[in-house]
């Protein structure tokens, strides 16, 4: 392994490749590409994209479309994890937001009201989490555990235990509509760009990283950690709210039990695969986007292989452990030690030949 790397470095003096190899997005991207190649082997038509009546169709577009909700909540999860936090209530927020917007839609018929209601739910849930974590000082996992448990109960309370269905065409358009590519993809792009702008073009991203690395030190340097953490949970809530609207519009119904089920776990996985450490500090938005795409591709792969959908859990578990092991410094040390030993042998041989 190390040898190959050395070769690559020797051959390519241009620093772009080197920088790309060193950048955090390299490994997630390699995993994604490997998975796509694997798909191409099983199903040769995998990469085909057809144009029908001005819209693009194909497996890749499908993956892109279905990964939108996951991508949104993974972005929220990433910035929260960057402050050594976690938000396990996103799945429940999705359920509440889906149920509220469906109920508003059913009662008032106004699409804009429904969308606003869904986002407001996200804001309120985010504020609740943020208040617990930043102002009361509860551990993030425990603080969001409350909403995780209560959330689905509240969602069922709103819908009265029923699955609400609706036929409003303009609302359904959010999740299923097409403008060349699925409409949801535009929402995702807008959100990614917005979060990227907030986090990388303003000082907020730096503040977040400094809180994640050392919250005490960041307080001494004059950062109001409480306010920032609070606002991050609100952002996370809003993103989950939007994801809830998209999910409920995509399946044309609001299901309090199953909307966003297991999503919080997928979001954590996407974040971790993207290279953001659970211990806080540096965060990688691009990596998270790739991570979300990776998980959705994995899901689609398993579906298209005709394996029972439940088995995907096993695959996910193994992939996650493998990725985490690759990221673990301890594991790398063992690995590198071995390859270094090989590398030095190689050098010795070279010297001997000379």
């Amino acid at each position: 392994m190390q040898r190959e790397v050395n070769k690559v470095e020797e051959k390519n003096e241009n620093s772009i490749l080197k920088r790309f190899y060193k950048s955090s997005i390299f490994w997630p991207l390699v995993c994604l590409i490997l998975l796509l190649i694997f798909n191409l082997i099983i199903n040769p038509g995998f990469l085909n994209i057809k144009i029908k009546s001005g819209h693009l169709f194909g497996d890749l577009i499908d993956i892109l479309n279905h990964s939108v909700p996951l991508m949104l909540i993974s972005l929220g999860m990433t910035i929260v994890i960057a402050t050594q936090g976690i938000d396990i209530s996103v799945g429940s927020i999705i359920a509440i937001s889906a149920c509220v917007s469906a109920t508003i839609l059913a009662s008032s018929g106004s699409v804009i009201m429904a969308i606003i209601a869904g986002i407001v739910v996200g804001v309120i849930c985010g504020m609740w989490n943020g208040m617990l974590v930043s102002f009361i000082g509860v551990q993030p996992m425990v603080g969001t555990l409350i909403l995780y448990i209560v959330g689905r109960g509240v969602a069922q309370l709103i819908t009265g235990g029923q699955i609400l269905t609706f036929t409003n065409k303009s609302f359904i358009f959010i999740g299923t509509g097409y403008i060349v590519v699925p409409f949801a993809v535009y929402i995702a792009i807008a959100c990614v760009l917005l979060i990227y702008f907030i986090m990388r073009k303003t000082a907020l991203g730096l503040f977040v990283e400094s809180i994640g690395v050392n919250s005490t030190a960041s307080r001494y340097s004059g950062i109001n950690a409480k306010k920032i953490i609070f606002s991050l949970y609100v952002i996370c809530g809003i993103l989950a709210g939007i994801a809830g609207i998209i999910i409920c519009s995509n399946i044309k119904s609001a299901d309090a039990n199953n909307a966003g089920l297991w999503m919080e776990l997928d979001a954590i996985l996407a974040t971790v695969i993207g290279g953001t450490s659970m211990n806080g500090g540096r965060f990688y938005l691009g990596g998270t986007v790739v991570g979300a795409l990776f998980i959705q591709t994995l899901t689609t792969t398993v579906y298209s292989m005709g394996v029972a959908p439940e088995v995907i859990l096993v695959v996910k578990a193994l992939v996650v452990i493998a990725v985490c092991l690759l990221q673990s410094p301890n594991f790398r040390r063992i690995f590198i030690k071995k390859s270094k030993a090989v590398g030095s042998n190689y050098k010795v041989e070279k010297v001997a030949k000379v």
């Binding site: 996992m141 603080g143 555990l145 409350i146 448990i149 235990g161 971790v272 859990l313 578990a317 301890n330």
Partner: protein, 333 residues
């Protein structure tokens, strides 16, 4: 000086038990309230049923307690129940000796827990991620066995399930309850009177200090997850005996119930603080809320979730108040 010391010790004892006192008090209030509101609530059988219905939860909450005390977590417990129920049901269906099945299942639990512990300790992975993956794995693996429910009609299992132990006139309990109480007692013994238990508290207080003191941190942390794996396998067995079926969706979200029971029972999630008796009361309190809602009859079952969540909120805030008070006292000194 000595007077001050005595005073301090008294206050310390109070804060240490305050969460458990609150839980027991709440339990009594709920029980008395239920007895006044609903006829037939005030009986020993209702009380005994709390144990019978929640025996498995008590056992897995004890396992969870150990991991939380070391400032870790085990999210795989709920999925392990499903996995164990599936293994048991399918092996029994194939006609394997029931006692052999029990041993196999417990060994599976121990191995599962140990692997998680090794991944967490040796490779320094986050317990959240590892046990999350464990949860996925266990759920997926139980679906690999079968997607449908498998019922158990084995004679020994069903007779264990039906066996009633009379404890008072007109009141009975089950073998499951006895086993779960045994687990609680041995957990109390382990935590309070053995070197292993005190190492756990030391790790929870500060892992670095524990390491510098020369305590076997790595070994203990792995053992804690092994114990939790064993407890979840045992809990899974109890659940399988209780329901006499195996199904991959059994106990969806039970890990959160177990964590909630620990929090309500006064186990601090930052680790190093809490007593093994606490989760028992935590489980009983959530159990009594469930029975109250059942006795009411008009409320839907999702109110249980909301009530448990609210309880969790109150107890978490209570924990914070205790911690902040302790910190202030520390600063004053």
């Amino acid at each position: 000086m000595s007077e001050g010391l005595i005073k301090k010790r008294k206050i310390k004892l109070n804060t240490a038990y305050i969460s458990i006192y609150a839980t027991v008090g709440l339990f009594l209030v709920l029980f008395i309230g239920g007895s006044i509101l609903y006829s037939g609530f005030f009986s020993l059988q209702v009380f005994s049923n709390l144990f019978i219905d929640n025996a498995y939860l008590i056992v897995i909450a004890i396992g969870e307690t150990f991991t939380i005390l070391t400032a870790g977590i085990d999210l795989s417990v709920g999925a392990m129940i499903a996995f164990v129920s599936m293994i048991t049901a399918s092996l029994l269906k194939d006609g394997v000796n029931p006692f052999l099945v029990i041993i196999i299942v417990l060994i599976v639990g121990i191995i599962f827990g140990t692997v998680q512990g090794v991944l967490i300790q040796k490779f320094n992975l986050h317990p959240w991620i590892v046990t999350l993956a464990g949860m996925f794995f266990a759920r997926g693996a139980s679906y690999l066995i079968s997607i449908n429910t498998i019922t158990i009609d084995n004679y020994i299992f069903s007779s264990i399930s039906r066996f009633r132990i009379p404890i008072a006139p007109g009141t009975f309990t089950s073998i499951n309850v006895i086993i779960s109480l045994l687990v609680v007692v041995s957990a109390i013994y382990l935590l309070k009177y053995t070197r292993f238990g005190r190492t756990i508290y030391a790790i929870g207080g500060s892992e670095n200090s524990a390491m510098l003191m020369g305590l076997p941190v790595a070994k203990t942390k792995i053992l804690v997850y092994t114990f939790s794996g064993f407890c979840s396998a045992l809990g899974g067995l109890l659940f399988t005996i209780y329901t006499l079926s195996g199904y991959g969706l059994h106990c969806n979200g039970t890990e959160m119930d177990a964590i909630a029971a620990c929090v309500i029972g006064g186990i601090l999630l930052t680790g190093g603080f809490g007593y093994a008796i606490g989760p028992l009361f935590g489980v009983l309190t959530t159990g009594i809320i469930q029975s109250l809602i059942m006795f009411n009859g008009t409320l839907n079952s999702w109110w249980t979730k909301i009530a448990v969540g609210m309880l969790l909120f109150i107890f978490i805030v209570l924990q914070r108040v205790i911690v902040i008070r302790n910190e202030r006292k520390f600063v004053k000194q």
